[in-house]
Point group: C2
Chain length 768, copies 2
């Protein structure tokens, strides 16, 4: 039916068409969740706890409900009482439905600064805000537990009397008072360390950081008289949000329709519900649609940042550089409810190296902070920060080139991974040889206190279930519809795959994302999966379209369908050479041969797709202020076939920029009573354009055999190496190793002081 | 796989669940097209011609565009110039794209009172209305052509110098100056009339009448920077409107998404575009979304009422009552552009009788009135008004019971229809015997000037392409989505079919109508087709779901799929009796066996489905005022299996009510210069609740073998007989035959005067 072609013989894949959503976004015309309007709509606002840990003695809403303009008030008592129960989020794992409900609205206890206590719907946002001040809450304060060390200490305050452990793929055990333990063991680390000539051990910590999406959370919910609930919101996963809402409100899934609007940034933080069930209950009480949106401080205090951690890592190597053993203990904050990314961190920790003896203990630790949510390659940066610094130290100590050390120990296609299955196809050595051959690696450093760092990481992109529908119109135009919200240009990258598969120009295709009623079930846009996994489903649907069109041509030419061949955008009758029709011409004959064609496909590619990334960074450290200036940054990533190279570069650059922010500046500052002290973008210090260098993205393309065009996905991996690469560069520049993320100026200064016993100005020269 | 059951062995079909959309509509919460809001939205208004026929010399919009608050102005010059070209509307026939464009906005000429000339978008509807007054138009007036007699007269003014004939299934010829002719001939009418003992000939006329839907036309259109056009509107056919807009604006179909909102009445009048392309151009010019809605006078002046007609009918019968020949000449107004329902009227004229010799000439006649559109059984009432009066006259003259006369000549299953194909299965005789046996037929009439009338009609319901999607969720709830806008409770009647086919309670199903991007192509909700034709597709999709669920059960029980049986809502392993799972329990296992199930089906049942209806009416005529009071009304209709008997009765009652309005009161009054003089619901006299009796609906159920549950469709047929039945009842009451619809009081008075040569008061007794 279709052409056979070599990997690089593409018409559309690999080109750079302009994406359709750009101009509306630049002009401010795109409809984001806060722009959405319904007639007769109310505005909802949430009263939040100022205490990190307290028992709720009473909530009196009587003064608020009496205020003019107020139409409804809800508290935890308006929510159905539900038991602890793990509910499936499909590819997005499992979650305890009670935790999801309690995180939307506190019931007996508040568990973090910013925890929702009550909500008001009123004629205006101002009326609602004012009414919040009239709600009287009495608390019984409890001691807050603010990090993994305090939470796991003997005699620590217990945050939950009972809870279900977070969702992990392998067996877990409770580790009281506030943690769950999971263990991975392969070989014997005792034997491995006995074989080592050099053993390096480090303990690192990292702080809570937020995804920092520009668009704040917002939703509009209408609860119809017939019990049908419609939700217009910003989300990575309309189906996941729908299932969340059904679980929290205990109503049938089929009654809920979630309409995903444009997403103004998410990075993992918009796949779980916060406002929607609250707005739903306010709508049911008031009989009117209710819109709710968070202020920036609410986003920072009460959505899902990534974990603060403590990681102990110990690695042994022979003097030839071969690694014999690795032992890690990873403690990841889950926030106020179980479920950190510690298991993903354990997978990311050492799988890129072929280490015969590995033991890892992971702890999922409950603390009095907001419930963590995924943040781009969740859990990866801190553990790689620990391990890649140790590898840098081993290379320096043994006098081996740091890239050669990695190549020596590299996991290659088919090598057995620590989880027991063989590594799927990927050219990891080709990636590292590209780094080594790159001009950046050999160019000289200039100036005082400059240094170069390198780090390497591997990540496993998700597959999972997706749906796609392709419709062919009588004028030859085509609609492609999926359920994958577009966070990075995927409407275009999916359209490009459809165009390639259909043999038509991409301009003929309109690509949109549907609501949860309007397409088959799909996993969220997470795990770098959309262009890869949804892409496969799009290609399948395109094949279905071509098959049906061939059948129509067969009807018109009165031959068997097998005699129709399609190539170069032209249907041909194999029996009569002169009978030919373009895709467009045949489209014009659809009405007379059975109507326009629509093909719907749902499919779930199995397993994971490896992605590899290596970063090189040059820095100049100011020893007086501790400020780290990035002089040059090159990010190498194997993305499989790059569908739209501009967007791939954008993903690599964006991920690296976030990794740099996490590495150098971003962190939550909690005071001793558990109040978040920097809940604004002025004080929560994300890198600005002035803080960042040009990030050169070098795209490597070892094809993924699981995808028809070799696509791997590219969204996450490059957030992992920056912290490790920068730590290694700082060491190269000023001879100190940082053990804490972010490597903020005061920590850099402190490390230099500890090393030299002197003020920074005394070492105003290159330290080696 | 599924149960085998007899026709009446249903769990859900035939019950009367409460429809989901009712409460929101009663409470005013349902979102109709005028309720829809977008941020930054403008309001558009249209300047309309006050002349029925004129050449546009110039339009000066400069003063309007300068008015504060005005954001864009468009005229015919802003529309693409397009050639005459017949474009397919799928099952909805063909249309000339140039006519569709010209009807949205006049280019060189205005062709009817109310024809759009220019449009303004402004910050408020008031600003837009005021700006219309600042548009200066210069006309060259032309003589208007206001009915079929004037239009077809020698020397008549030519409305269109060139035009394509309306869409007919069989060959047509132009019949200058303003008409197209189609002819149906079967046997020899000359021979047939020669065999007749009695020949009756009548000429009738009927006037333009409007569907009278309560919801006025409204639309909101956003033209995105990327050229994607989204339309939120009230329509019977989102795909047809989409294709209309693409043709008028000459943009790719794939760029347009039409979101159908709740429909507040349509009856055939909301399947073609009026405001949408105008709003689209205003949106493109202003860069903002534009909402447009019509005032009531605009709806009456410038949308699509049904045709005024003139029909000559001549029927011959032997003295035993057998009809030997029928000859008809039907002239139907098309309005300002070609395409009246004359062909449908020809099909409806005599097919219910098995007449050996038939000749019909149909004329599609262009006049200076708004372009007609379908109105519930389009074209049927006037021609049946003519034919059934003649049959009443034949029965009276020959002294044969009027029902026996019909039974003698009845078309039965398999009889050859005038179009050449055999009549599909239907128990027409059973219907007429039900009427004859009914208490109404034999009960005595009481009081002076009372009479009883009977009429019988047959209509052919459409099949056509539909799409449906069924999704099964993990909690056992189910979504059913179709592209068929719900004008009569079809969300429920389709859900009931899905519930029956799936073996689950209907309460488990949420049923919705999708936008044009969110489901496969479908023909509009027209031709009584949705519960029948879309219903078949729903049943097919349900079978697909059960097949996939059986496969999941087979996976769980590790047996072959063939060993899974499903009955009574329970999946069973045929090999091990104890292995059983309910539909709901198996739904809960979907995540672990491949994810939730979604099945999408598109299918087009071929051919037409006969529907038969017979009405009995008792009247009292006030000879002084001519007012016809309805004393008792019984409508008998064969609907096949009645899915939801309440809604079927509602359809029969609603159709009869509209037929009564058309029969007794409703008509457009044009003055000599072509101005519509009654463009308001005060002056355009639809029946109110006080005008109508209780209409008893008697449902007959001869199953349709083309549908799995025997459904025929029921929406249209009962609008046809009322005028004929009332005419026969008036004759029975006061001895006069009315030759003009509506049979308004002044015409009844006039007829009585002509008959008696006296004032009405002189005949204040029962005339026979």
């Amino acid at each position: 039916m279709s052409d056979s072609k070599s990997l690089n013989d593409y018409r559309v894949i690999g080109t750079r068409p302009v994406r359709g959503d750009g101009e509306d976004k630049v002009r401010g015309k795109a409809q984001f969740a806060e722009d959405f309007r319904l007639g007769n709509m109310l505005y909802g606002k949430i009263l939040r706890s100022n205490h990190a840990h307290a028992r709720i003695v009473s909530i009196d809403t009587s003064r608020a409900i009496s205020r003019p303009g107020v139409r409804a008030v809800v508290t935890g008592e308006d929510f159905p009482v539900i038991p602890h129960k793990m509910v499936s989020m499909g590819e997005a794992g499992l979650a305890d439905q009670r935790d999801i409900s309690d995180n939307c609205m506190a019931k007996d206890k508040v568990l973090y600064d910013g925890h929702a206590l009550a909500a008001v719907a009123a004629d205006s946002a101002h009326d609602a805000e004012e009414a919040l001040k009239l709600i009287d809450v009495a608390y019984e304060l409890l001691p807050p537990v603010m990090n993994v060390r305090a939470a796991m200490a003997d005699g620590a305050t217990v945050v939950h009397e009972s809870f279900l452990p977070g969702s992990f793929v392998i067996p877990t055990e409770k580790h009281l008072p506030n943690a769950t333990r999971i263990q991975i063991e392969d070989g014997s680390v005792e034997k491995g360390f006995a074989q080592a000539d050099l053993v390096v051990e480090r303990v690192i910590t990292s702080e809570t950081a937020h995804q920092g999406y520009i668009e704040r959370h917002a939703t509009t919910v209408e609860w119809g008289s017939n019990g049908e609930v419609t939700v217009w919101t910003s989300t990575q996963g309309p189906f996941e949000i729908r299932d969340n809402i059904a679980d929290v409100l205990q109503i049938p899934v089929g009654k809920i329709k979630v309409v995903p609007l444009e997403v103004g940034g998410a990075f993992g933080g918009k796949d779980r519900t916060y406002l929607d069930p609250v707005a739903a209950l306010l709508s049911r009480k008031s009989g009117r649609p209710v819109q709710m949106s968070m202020r920036r401080d609410e986003v920072l205090r009460a959505t899902g940042p990534t974990s603060g951690t403590q990681i102990k890592a110990k690695i042994g190597a022979r003097s030839d550089g071969s690694i014999t053993a690795a032992e890690l203990e990873l403690a990841y904050e889950a926030g106020a409810y179980a479920g950190s990314p510690v298991f993903l961190a354990m997978v990311a920790a050492t799988t890129r190296y072929n280490i015969p003896n590995v033991r890892m203990n992971g702890f999922d630790v409950i603390v009095n902070k907001p419930k963590t949510r995924p943040y781009r390659a969740p859990g990866g940066p801190p553990v790689v920060f620990a391990v890649e610094q140790i590898l840098d130290e081993i290379a320096r100590t043994l006098g081996i080139d740091p890239i050669d050390l990695r190549i020596k120990n590299l996991t290659r296609t088919g090598d057995r991974l620590v989880l027991g299955f063989p590594c799927p196809s990927i050219d990891t050595e080709g990636l590292l040889r590209t780094v080594k051959a790159h001009d950046h690696y050999s160019s000289p450093l200039k100036g005082p206190n400059t240094g170069r760092g390198f780090a390497y990481a591997m990540w496993f992109n998700l597959g999972g279930i997706s749906s796609a529908r392709i419709a062919v119109n009588a004028d030859g135009s085509v609609q492609l519809v999926t359920a994958s919200p577009d966070m990075s240009g995927t409407r275009m990258t999916l359209a490009m795959q459809a165009a390639e598969a259909l043999g038509i120009p991409v301009e003929k295709i309109t690509s949109r994302c549907a609501d949860s009623d309007s397409i088959g079930f799909s996993a969220p846009t997470i795990g770098s999966r959309t262009t890869y996994a949804t892409g496969i489903v799009v290609c399948n649907a395109a094949q279905g379209v071509l098959k049906q069109m061939a059948a129509r041509a067969a009807v018109l030419w009165e031959v068997a369908q097998e005699d129709i061949i399609y190539s170069g955008g032209i249907f041909r009758n194999r029996m009569r050479d002169e009978q030919q029709m373009t895709f467009e011409a045949l489209s014009g004959r659809l009405y007379e041969t059975g109507g326009p064609i629509t093909v719907h496909e749902t499919f779930s590619p199995k397993g994971f797709v490896p992605a590899a990334t290596a970063h090189l960074v040059d820095v100049a450290v100011d020893p007086e202020t501790g400020k780290v200036n990035i002089l040059r940054y090159t990010a190498f990533q194997d993305v499989g076939k790059a569908v739209h190279p501009d967007y791939v570069e954008g993903q690599v650059q964006g991920a690296a920029a976030q990794g740099i922010g996490m590495a150098l500046n971003e962190e939550y500052f909690y005071d001793e009573s558990g109040h978040l002290r920097n809940a604004s973008l002025l004080d929560y210090r994300m890198p600005t354009a002035l803080d960042l260098p040009m990030i050169d993205a070098v795209i490597c393309e070892s094809p993924n055999p699981a995808h028809p065009f070799g696509v791997r996905g590219c969204g996450e991996a490059s957030i992992i190496p920056p912290a490790a690469a920068l730590a290694n560069a700082i060491h190269d520049a000023v001879g100190v190793r940082l053990s804490s993320m972010p490597m903020a100026p005061h920590k850099v200064c402190q490390s230099i002081r500890e090393k030299t016993g002197a003020l920074g100005s005394h070492i105003a020269r290159r330290v080696d």
